[in-house]
């Protein structure tokens, strides 16, 4: 042990030659009495060295700091629940740690039965921002919206803070005593989501051994495991399916939203798709066929899109399977659909580079058909891989029915719901639930199930607890906590199951390490540290399974499919693209995120196309810029749900789509804010009226009790319901808008053939009155530009000129950048009524346009999405009109907002042609709960009321890199500055960098012949360029 020097003022041996200050006579004289008192005067331990008998052999300063540094490093690694003693307050600063400079830790977010690898940025022990793990093959640094938003869930002020028994506040010790006291003869039902955690598997086995009857139900009400069931039917076992979209030349999506955040692997799909669309590099492009009833993001990216009722897609799949020889039989209603022959021919031509994917909502039979087609075409091994990992392929319905039967019969003593919420999303559960003697619920919130549980245990957020698991591709990871649980009672799933398994408290850290001792070779500590540091175990991916298709299995699965036409209106229920199954419902960022295709916020709606709405006699109208819609009552079986109507062009006729996850009823411990009539604080605060999600939308889970695609009756209920949408505030007439978008050259696209014939097609899209050539105007770094003044050029920053290129060809519109921008830049939420008034704050918005004409009709338009950040114009119109110079140009070519200086005339916003400026109409931050403030980025100013704000090109990141480069006395390297939106983009659609450097990737991208600038004829010289979109439609299909 290293001795620490004693940190006290023990009597000196030599008198100071200079004036001596003394506190008392006894101090001056150095009496024994004084020594005794002064030695004990300060905090215990501070005045005594570790080895008091040998005070002279204290540690050197270097040793001391080494110890401190090591302690700090270990604190970071192991700082969960137990090793609290090793945490040292920041007053003793460890070496290499600079307050205010963030540290990144690798961890992973469990979602849909797999881990999503992430890096978490932590400021002085406070996690603030989540990025993808760039070294992990499943992420490459990208994430979906859920990882981005999960940081806010950590700080959710509505989280459950203490153990509850019935509705009384209890504590963890009481719960421990309860579990320890359970007789081993207890009959237990566990409802838990499928998980990839190895530690969970271990403790689950232990628990099953300890208690006589444990029925474990893989609770997949929301994630529905149709895919696994389909694979099981086709191959005998539920091998985990992964797709390599980049290798695919022809892709057929059967109702699958590949790029939607609620899909199983949107990141990999978007990245792979982008690679397959790189026309410039490869000279060819993949082709995407989408057959779907909804209008999804994937449908928007499709080269050929077919609207078809979800219930009839099985028939289409069977017809295609039949045409490629993967299955034989009567394909039913769409057996001779004109598309079948074309798609099948294209798939056959592609052979092993074809890929057929079926959607989550489609029954297992369709997944089996997709597997059969892929197998028949030889795609297994190229575009489709089956990993030797088995997904849960239990028939959830059957398992659950059995469990409910037991519960109803009174044969269940304990029901343990682990992070799931069956009272909310499983109709008919409540009655059975009440029959169980003990109802233990582990949850982040005091939610619906907690309302009828006997014990409710707060669950830890994944950033608070140790865990492990595998990613989608089977790479093993350790889930590392970044912060001690915000609520002392909160425990992780494995800790709760561990408690049940042993009857004594188990610590996640110990459990995970115990599991990993079996996994790691070599010295355990070394390997463990590396895994924790990297965020994954290198080289641990799952191997490919040896598969052989069972045609009888496929036939059996298909025989269960309905291949006839669906009569009447079908109702399709799917997980929401924002709040998923409701688990993210209390996340204000996600609630306010515009739904990618409808742009609706804070609501779930019944989507239908115009002709369906007309047939049902429902509609919507614009009243003063606000959407007032009719509501419909949807009746399926015994369940009825009332939802507002949303009319979405391009959906299948007679198909109504609803999403899960709304209508939550979470109880918050926070007091409702109520202010006097003169004060609007309660109105401006989304946290002001109980839990964020309570009262938002309606719960449609009961409708899904008989499947995801059902029929039922729909009738008009009421009128005048306000739906908030971030787009179309004032323009409902899609055709009118579409014509203006075309005329103004906002979104330019061409087919591959047109592009080959005329690579400069974007120039043809330039709006008519462009008098002078864009190139006639010198850019900032060229001579004679008015901005080349001494003030600018003498600045150190002048060396870099920042610019951005956004590739519309690969952008899927998944919203990850919007969410990342919100997390990075402390963008506040404003709530439904303020969004309805057009006051949303997102700095980066996704403009969605429908395109009719050019083969597309109003009933069946194309959908395009265009990201719109601040364009950082060189001749910025906003800068010239500000009376107080609060928005100015930086020497490195960005348009900056000086919040301190802004007085809020809003003239800049009026004069911005792109309307990307956002005004703080109220003080959105003033009333935020304290924990929400903790999620904010300390490097970005929180804006006050009355100031303008907008995209800054993540100036805090630029300046951070500037600082590092300056210290190291060098120029910035290309790629050193990464904006939040760029970093998160799975498709790499956003390139940011230095335009002054001709070698930089952004300069290279700007040489593309697809490049154009928006509203270039205004001569405002935007620094953001767009690359025109290319489509590769099958010429034989209109």
């Amino acid at each position: 042990m290293i001795e620490l020097p004693v940190l006290d003022d023990s009597p000196e041996t030599g008198e100071s030659p200079r004036n001596r200050f003394w506190r008392s006579i006894s101090h001056l004289k150095g009496t024994d009495e004084y020594s005794r008192i002064s030695a004990g005067e300060f905090i215990p331990g501070a005045s005594e060295g570790p080895i008091a008998s040998d005070a002279t052999s204290g540690a050197t300063r270097r040793q001391f700091i080494q110890l401190m540094g090591a302690s700090m490093a270990m604190a970071g690694l192991t700082a969960c629940r137990k090793p609290v003693e090793k945490i040292i307050p920041f007053t003793r600063m460890p070496e290499d740690t600079i307050p205010g400079v963030p540290v990144q830790f690798a961890t992973a977010m469990p979602f849909r039965g797999a881990l999503r690898p992430v890096l978490v940025e932590s400021y002085d022990g406070r996690p603030t921002k989540i990025e993808g793990n760039p070294e992990h093959a499943d992420s490459h640094g990208a994430t979906s919206i859920y990882e981005q938003a999960s940081i806010l869930a950590l700080y959710d002020p509505d989280r459950l803070g203490s153990v509850r028994t019935d509705s009384d506040v209890s504590d963890w010790n009481a719960f421990k005593a309860f579990v320890a006291g359970l007789p081993t003869s207890s009959r237990i039902v566990v409802l838990a989501e499928p998980t990839s955690s190895m530690t969970m598997a271990v403790v689950r086995r232990q628990m099953e051994q300890r208690f006589s009857t444990v029925r474990w139900v893989d609770y997949s009400a929301a994630t529905c495991n149709h895919s696994a069931l389909g694979v099981q039917a086709a191959y005998g076992r539920a091998w985990r399916t992964t797709h390599d979209v980049s290798a695919a030349n022809v892709i057929l999506s059967l109702d699958a939203d590949l790029f939607g955040a609620n899909g199983s692997d949107p990141i990999g799909a978007a990245r792979g798709f982008a690679e397959g669309r790189d026309m410039e590099a490869t000279g060819s492009m993949s082709r995407l066929y989408v057959v779907e009833s909804d209008y999804s993001l994937t449908g928007g990216m499709a080269d050929n899109r077919l609207r078809m009722k979800s219930g009839e897609i099985a028939s289409f799949a069977a017809a295609v399977a039949s045409a490629v020889g993967a299955w034989s039989g009567d394909a039913g209603v769409h057996a001779s659909h004109p598309w079948v022959a074309e798609v099948a021919a294209d798939l056959r031509r592609a052979g092993s580079t074809a890929l057929v994917v079926a959607g989550d909502n489609q029954p297992a039979g369709v997944h089996a058909l997709a597997a059969a087609i892929n197998d028949r075409l030889g795609a297994v091994g190229t575009t489709v891989s089956y990993l030797s990992l088995e997904d849960s392929a239990n028939d959830f319905e059957a398992d659950m029915q059995a469990a409910l039967a037991d519960m109803n019969a009174g044969d269940v003593d304990v029901v343990l719901t682990l992070g799931v919420n069956p009272v909310y999303d499983l109709p008919g559960f409540s009655d059975a639930y009440a029959n169980a003697t003990h109802r233990v619920h582990v949850s982040l919130y005091d939610d619906e199930t907690a309302g009828s549980a006997t014990w409710t245990v707060p669950q830890t957020h994944y950033l608070e607890a140790w865990g492990d698991g595998t990613s989608k591709s089977g790479v093993m990871s350790v889930v590392q906590p970044l912060i001690a649980p915000l609520y002392a009672d909160a425990h992780s799933d494995i800790e709760v199951i561990g408690l049940f398994a042993t009857g004594t408290e188990m610590f996640g850290y110990d459990m995970v390490r115990a599991t990993w001792r079996q996994q790691l070779s070599g010295t355990f500590e070394t390997s463990w540290r590396k895994v924790v540091h990297d965020g994954f175990l290198d080289g641990s991916g799952a191997s490919t399974a040896r598969t052989s298709l069972s045609s009888t299995g496929v036939n059996a699965a298909v025989s269960g499919l309905g291949l006839a036409a669906v009569s009447g209106t079908e109702i399709v229920i799917s997980a929401d693209t924002k709040v998923f199954d409701g688990r993210f419902a209390n996340n204000a960022w996600l609630q306010e995120l515009p739904e990618p295709t409808t742009k609706v916020v804070w609501e779930n709606v019944a989507k239908m196309n115009p002709s369906t709405a007309e047939r049902l006699g429902v509609g919507s109208k614009l009243d003063g810029g606000r959407y007032l819609t009719d509501t419909v009552e949807i009746e399926v079986g015994q369940y009825r749900v009332e939802l507002p109507v949303w009319i979405q062009p391009g959906m299948a006729d007679d198909s109504v789509h609803v999403t899960l996850g709304y209508g939550r009823n979470i109880v918050s411990e926070r007091e409702e804010r109520s202010t006097n009539i003169f004060d609007l604080d309660d109105y401006t605060d989304v946290y002001g009226k109980g839990a964020v999600s309570t009262g938002v939308g309606s719960n449609v889970a009961p409708l899904a009790s008989e499947g995801r695609i059902v029929t039922g009756s729909i009738s008009k209920k009421a009128s005048g319901y306000l739906v908030a949408s971030t787009q179309d505030h004032g323009a409902i007439d899609a055709e009118h808008v579409s014509e203006q978008v075309q005329k103004r050259g906002l979104f330019r696209m061409a087919t591959v053939d047109e592009y080959r014939a005329n690579p400069d097609f974007v120039a043809g899209g330039e709006p008519a009155p462009l008098k002078e050539d864009w190139e006639d105007y010198p850019t900032l770094w060229q001579a004679n530009h008015p901005k080349e003044s001494d003030v600018m050029t003498n600045s150190n920053y002048f060396e870099n000129q920042w610019g951005m290129v956004i590739d519309l060809n690969t952008c899927t519109g998944c919203n990850a950048c919007v969410m990342a921008c919100q997390a990075e830049n402390n963008i506040q939420v404003v709530g439904k009524s303020e969004v309805a008034r057009g006051r949303e704050m997102h700095w980066l918005r996704m403009d969605r346009y429908f395109v009719s004409g050019d083969g597309a009709t109003l009933e069946d338009p194309q959908m395009v999405i265009q990201p719109m950040p601040c364009q950082h114009c060189e001749n910025a119109p906003c800068e010239q009109v500000c009376p107080v110079a609060a928005t100015v140009h930086s020497p490195d070519g960005t348009n900056q907002m000086i919040y301190n200086r802004c007085i809020g005339t809003r003239y800049c916003a009026n004069n911005c042609p792109y309307k990307v400026r956002r005004f703080n109409f109220f003080n959105w931050t003033k009333t935020l709960p304290g924990t929400v403030h903790m999620a904010q980025n300390p490097n970005v100013t929180v804006r006050s009321r009355g100031v303008m704000e907008k995209c800054s090109f993540c100036i805090q990141r630029i300046r951070g890199a500037n600082k590092v480069a300056n210290v190291e006395n060098r120029s910035l390297r290309d790629g050193e500055v990464v904006t939040a939106c760029q970093q998160v983009c799975p498709a790499n659609a956003i390139t940011f960098g230095d335009l002054a450097n001709p070698e930089s990737s952004v300069s290279q991208k700007r040489t593309s012949d697809r490049r154009y600038e928006l509203l270039a004829e205004l001569n405002i010289k935007p620094r953001v360029s767009y690359l025109g979109r290319l489509r590769n439609p099958n010429p034989n299909l209109a």
Binding site: F678, H729, D847, R918, F919, G946
Partner: protein, 484 residues
């Protein structure tokens, strides 16, 4: 005064004057003084208290709305992301526009020797000042951080931070504040001889002291008159370019931007014409009432009102011409955004506002081509109200319809005012009438000395054949010739 042949009536002098007499009713100098001054000296009528209470209620409403705004933020208004300017800026331009008539009447008509101005210039100038005060309320309160509004002034500070001189909003600050200052000084200078008259007539001590201070020692000496007239002429010359500049600068707020529908070179003259148009309409509205109540129909005659109506007809037609020119230019320029903006005005979501503006501003004033109609008090009152409404809508159309649909259709939205917007506007009328009623009560509403100056008696040769020019005191019924 006994025989008809020796009778020196105004009618008999008609031959010597090209114009119809400016003052009717056979009034003498003293009658004029008496007529105007007596209103400031008599016991306050009950009706005034009633009107003033109503105005104060409006003023309180304004103050409450402003307090509510300051307490909560700009969000209490109906503004949104594309429409960053709404009622506040519309009202600002509306009030500044109204504030144009007074100085135009005082300064420009003075320089052009339009003697009929004397009857109305005082009240028109007062109206100008009060309108500009109402106007100044809005740019002050419309900023998001009102506590930092002084940053728009070029105040030396330790940061060496100046306002941004390229911004039209800053030009506004200078233009409107200069205009206000000069108008106020001009009005006050014109008031000095009349206040001296009030001082001389004062019967109470307080009245004598207040008017004594305000009259600044005016004795009516020849030297005073000489200096006064020189100063008045210089101020008129100074105010004249300001009349044209202030609304030109206000129009730059729009014209300098890139917003389609704002970015128009026609704006400065079009705004000035519109301002005179609305200002004259407001003067007509106010004077039709005031002359009746104050019984000064012989001083502010139908001839005066008719002349103003002719100006309204002229400027209204100019404004209408500008509307049509805008459309022509939008078409001729070939700029699609411009074309869209103007088509959208006519047929878009705000078509109702556009057609209100067109009918009120272009169509209704055309009735003034008919002499009978433009001399009809009731009719002109109705038209002047229409013009006031139309000119408010003109600013609304320009501000809001241009912003609500500009370049990118994704951000298009619709602007709806809130109750705070509406009540703040209503409240400014309270502010205006509070000032105006105080003016009516305590100051001479007609420029007594100037009216005397344009009466035939002011002609030095008027009394030539009466010897010393000091006529015997004559008894005139003050109310002679007036309708009772």
């Amino acid at each position: 005064m006994n025989t008809a042949s020796k009778d020196k009536t105004l009618a008999s002098l008609a031959d010597f004057h090209d114009e119809a007499p400016l003052v009717t009713g056979n009034l003498k100098f003293h009658d004029i003084t008496e007529l105007v001054s007596s209103h400031t000296e008599k016991k306050t009528p009950l009706a005034w208290y009633g009107a003033f209470s109503l105005a104060l209620v409006g003023l309180m409403l304004l103050l409450i709305m402003i307090a509510y705004l300051f307490w909560n933020g700009t969000g209490v208004w109906g503004l949104n992301n594309p429409v960053g300017w709404g009622y506040a800026i519309v009202n600002f331009v509306f009030w500044v526009g109204i504030g144009h008539a007074g100085t135009l009447i005082s300064a420009i008509l003075f320089l052009f020797r339009q003697q009929w101005r004397t009857a109305i210039n005082r009240s028109a100038e007062a109206m100008t000042i009060f309108a500009v005060i109402c106007a100044l309320v809005f740019p002050t309160i419309h900023v998001g951080r009102v506590w930092a509004i002084y940053w728009t002034l070029p105040l030396p500070n330790q940061m060496g931070m100046w306002p941004q001189f390229k911004s039209p909003l800053l030009w506004d600050v200078f233009a409107v504040s200069t205009y206000f200052t000069v108008s106020l000084v001009f009005w006050y200078v014109g008031l000095v001889p009349d206040i001296a008259t009030l001082r001389d007539r004062a019967t109470t001590k307080l009245r004598r002291m207040v008017t004594g201070v305000l009259a600044m020692g005016w004795t009516g000496a020849n030297r005073h008159w000489r200096n006064y007239e020189k100063a008045y002429l210089l101020l008129a010359a100074l105010a004249t370019p300001l009349v044209l500049s202030v609304h030109s600068v206000v129009s730059f707020d729009f014209a300098v931007s890139v917003v389609p529908g704002w970015h128009t070179t026609i704006f400065p003259p079009y705004f000035v014409a519109g301002a005179i148009f609305s200002g004259f309409a407001m003067v007509v509205t106010l004077l039709v009432i005031a002359r009746k109540i104050y019984g000064v129909e012989n001083i502010i005659t139908v001839d005066h009102l008719e002349k103003m109506n002719i100006v309204i007809l002229l400027t209204g037609t100019m404004v209408g011409f500008a509307y049509i020119t805008e459309f022509f230019v939008a078409w001729y320029s070939g700029v699609q955004y411009e074309q869209y903006a103007f088509t959208n005005r006519m047929f878009g979501p705000y078509a109702w506002a556009y057609w209100t503006m067109m009918s009120c501003n272009l169509f209704f004033p055309q009735f003034f081509w008919f002499k009978k109609l433009r001399r009809n008090i009731t009719f002109m009152f109705i038209i002047s109200i229409f013009v006031n409404i139309g000119m408010w809508f003109e600013r609304f159309v320009i501000t809001v319809t241009s912003l609500h649909r500009d370049y990118l259709p994704s951000s298009w939205d619709y602007y709806t005012p809130t109750f705070v917007d509406v009540l703040t506007f209503v409240g400014t009328f309270g502010l205006f009438f509070t000032f105006f009623l105080l003016f009516l009560r305590f100051l001479p509403i007609v420029a007594v000395s100037e009216v005397k100056g344009v009466m035939p008696e002011a002609d030095p040769h008027f009394y030539d054949h009466e010897g010393d020019g000091h006529d015997a005191a004559h008894a005139v019924n003050v109310n002679a010739g007036q309708k009772q």
